[in-house]
Symmetry: C2
């Protein structure tokens, strides 16, 4: 059952540059494809922002009742070259197991990526296809583009022919770039001179001697161009036309414009009805860059081992920080911003935890709860406006604090509605984790035991042996054994 709220959902479509009513192609189903990470290095915080934003979208569409098929790929076909550059003969003689195996690198960083996404409490996509696992599908796509006349083979590589394509169709729909402008700007992906025009892009690249990852193809040994995997895999799992295609704003051009051109060449249509792009994440006002030491990895934020921040921050705090900007706005990470997010999130959660304990009665509430719920959903329906949603939540927080100190009245039925709505918003939709931080728990356990040891020590000094024995025995019942050593005590957990 699709919620009535769904009819008011509006999504900003990058291709029209407007907020549009969301009407899925199939009534109850939504197909969503998001360009995933390249798994040749650690998960990047900017990427995390993108995937957290689409996790929210996935969660909200599911909350509304849609059956969503969410596909996010792993780009595992890279450009690793064999360190041994003395040629094929030497390589084949080199011991097999000593050679670099790209899939070992892929496995390492795929695990890292999944761990980080898990820490952020995001829901895994329904399908997570890999580029290397879909070479056949990509070769099929290339054959179709060649036969439609929009690609040509040269020296074992295949290129998409932008000029030919532009005779009947239009390249650059999404970015709005014009062919003429591109002539000078086109990033030549491989420095090859085999292209007819510099803006043409590779569909298949011939494998050079030292290129480790390669497959047989009708054009010889090689590997697919990067833009192709998303076209082939989105079509395989979502069909020629699906609802939402998402990714970071840096993918708009050339990646997504190339995807559209490829799909138009193969199936004659733009693959996605709604194109969505998340904006950049900067660090202290500047683009993140390793070369100028303006860079931080997600796990460095969690463990505090970095030169950028004054302390460590947990994933909920980082997520709250991300949600405090709209996904289409630039977001700047800084120590100050994270400290403010930590404070804000703690306040929100502590008031949420208070709700059950608040006194309520049958009188009218001093707060229009139905109106507030409507407002919350309106913010989500307005292109997933999380900062405005959070502002709504804080409106209610203010009221609940009033109830807590006895200056505001809360109706019992409203109390239930508020509790349910908070749970929906915080955990189902925004996807905050309810788990307590493990380490905090360990610490507090140790501190509680040490407090009991101190009380017991004082009791013994005051000859209150009844109390000191009670503490010793009760702790033993909990599996905690005190080891008395003269005046001081240590303890041991027996499990």
């Amino acid at each position: 059952m699709i919620s009535n709220l769904a009819k008011d959902l509006k999504i900003y479509n990058s291709i029209s540059g407007k907020k549009e009513s969301f009407i899925p192609i199939e009534k109850n189903n939504v197909g969503m494809y998001v360009c995933g990470p390249t798994v040749y290095s650690n998960a990047h915080l900017g990427n995390c922002r993108t995937f957290i934003s689409f996790d929210l979208i996935f969660r909200y569409l599911t909350h509304l009742g849609f059956k969503v098929r969410y596909v996010r790929n792993l780009t595992d076909v890279g450009h690793l070259e064999n360190e041994d550059d003395t040629g094929e003969d030497k390589i084949s003689k080199k011991a097999r197991l000593e050679k670099l195996e790209p899939m070992e690198v892929v496995q390492k960083y795929t695990i890292d990526f999944h761990q980080i996404m898990n820490k952020f409490n995001t829901i895994p996509p329904n399908i997570e296809p890999t580029a290397s696992g879909h070479i056949i599908e990509q070769i099929e796509s290339i054959k179709k583009i060649i036969s439609s006349g929009y690609a040509y083979e040269k020296n074992g590589s295949v290129y998409f022919d932008i000029s030919e394509f532009n005779k009947s169709k239009k390249y650059g729909k999404l970015s709005g770039r014009k062919i003429e402008e591109m002539m000078n700007q086109s990033r030549d992906l491989d420095g090859s001179s085999d292209k007819k025009n510099p803006q043409d892009f590779a569909l298949w690249k011939k494998a050079e001697k030292n290129h480790i990852m390669n497959w047989d193809s009708p054009w010889g040994k090689g590997f697919p161009g990067w833009h192709l995997e998303c076209t082939s895999m989105s079509k395989k799992y979502l069909g020629e036309s699906f609802d939402i295609h998402g990714g970071g704003i840096d993918l708009k051009f050339p990646h997504h414009d190339c995807e559209i051109a490829q799909s138009e060449a193969i199936d004659g249509c733009n693959p996605a009805k709604y194109w969505m792009h998340t904006n950049m994440l900067t660090l202290n006002g500047k683009k993140m860059s390793k070369s100028v030491d303006n860079f931080i990895l997600p796990f460095q934020i969690f463990d505090g081992q970095n030169k950028i921040l004054s302390k460590k921050f947990d994933p909920n705090t980082v997520k709250f920080f991300i949600y405090q900007a709209h996904y289409r706005s630039i977001l700047d990470l800084s120590d100050k911003a994270l400290l403010a997010s930590e404070k804000g999130f703690k306040k929100l959660i502590s008031v949420f935890n208070l709700i059950e304990t608040l006194k309520s009665n049958e009188n009218k509430s001093d707060f229009n709860v139905d109106n507030w719920i409507t407002n919350c959903y309106e913010k989500l329906n307005d292109d997933f406006n999380t900062p405005m949603l959070i502002a709504e939540l804080f409106d209610c927080v203010k009221f609940l604090n009033g109830v807590n100190i006895g200056s505001k009245n809360l109706n019992s039925s409203d109390k239930n509605k508020i509790s349910t709505t908070f749970k929906f918003m915080l955990f189902d939709i925004l996807g905050f984790s309810q788990q307590l931080d493990e380490k905090t728990d360990h610490n507090s356990q140790k501190e509680l035991i040490e407090l009991l040891i101190k009380i017991r020590s004082n009791a013994r000094n005051e000859k209150n042996f009844k109390l000191s024995d009670e503490i010793r025995n009760e702790l033993l019942n909990l599996g905690i054994k005190l080891n008395d050593d003269g005046s001081s005590s240590s303890f041991e957990i027996m499990k």
Copy 2:
């Protein structure tokens, strides 16, 4: 640096039926391939036993100093058929997103499998290739087998020709089965009548109308036979000849015999130097079977939600239970056995936790520690004999208990050696998890706070306000706020 201990390692090789000295093909590197799970259902406990056993082997070889490349595949090419059996026309009209997508099933059970393996604290393999991701490699393998004359195409399927193979080579090396015996026993994988002989097995299967997963091939649309993926993927990542090939004993025939035949047809050699097989896991003396309700899943053991066991058991306990039998012995799971394992493991860990607190001196120990360490490694070197290793650990536990009550002497240097060896054995090699059970921790935190509330309440009754205030304030410092309500107190954690 490879440890000197490595030269004494002996491995039982299923193909010779003997324990053999382990001499890797390349001096410092080990290539190990283990047949992984089919990800079309929940992780099976018998499979877990296999993967825990090979995790130990991986850990021990790494401990000895070898650089191990451990490859374990995911079988994701299944035999799912479309529920809609009215034919291709109808299916193509059916909405794309409503159709069953096998990769959604694969994703679900891959995540489940990884979670279970993670709970068992196993180390992920270095490469985890999927069958669906290696269709090109499998097609290449088939072409080579056809050109060597050991396979034939019939009606869009390709079969391995056992009779032809047996003219110059020998099928059934591993299982020792004879062709004549197989004539009546051969499990016909697909009920096809296209085979020349019933024992022939499929390398490529033509996709029937409703078969969802299929790829283009030189023989038409279809999918690879199950035996082929391991041949193609082990060769791709470990080479034509590698050191260890492992799997459950049920894979010996036909799967591993087919793999050997395929490799001999392609490269003229048995792919692995050592073939290793883990034995069966039974439940209450019988084969596990869903149909007679003699079945349990790993997570049902962890959460206690099952009709087989009296309580829940944690992953360390299950792992300890698995190690109490040698990997080549049949292992029977029962409530009694798990209860005994729980007791045994607790004893082992509690004595390990004692070591640091034991008193030591410069006198000679009442225990030959060097001899004990040698014995521990001897057990591991004897085909990874974990039950004998555990018996050695308990020999030392007995001594340490003696030291604890003051009846045995422990030398300071020996204390360090024991501590180091225990750490190696328990955590590095047997791979027990050092993490405390989260839930236990939560409970004990709550219980400790309640104990403090009780002590405070008694203090108030006795007018000992100094103590009651101290408890209140110290708890507040720890972020725990007491809410006094007349005679009783509740508390609230403020974070």
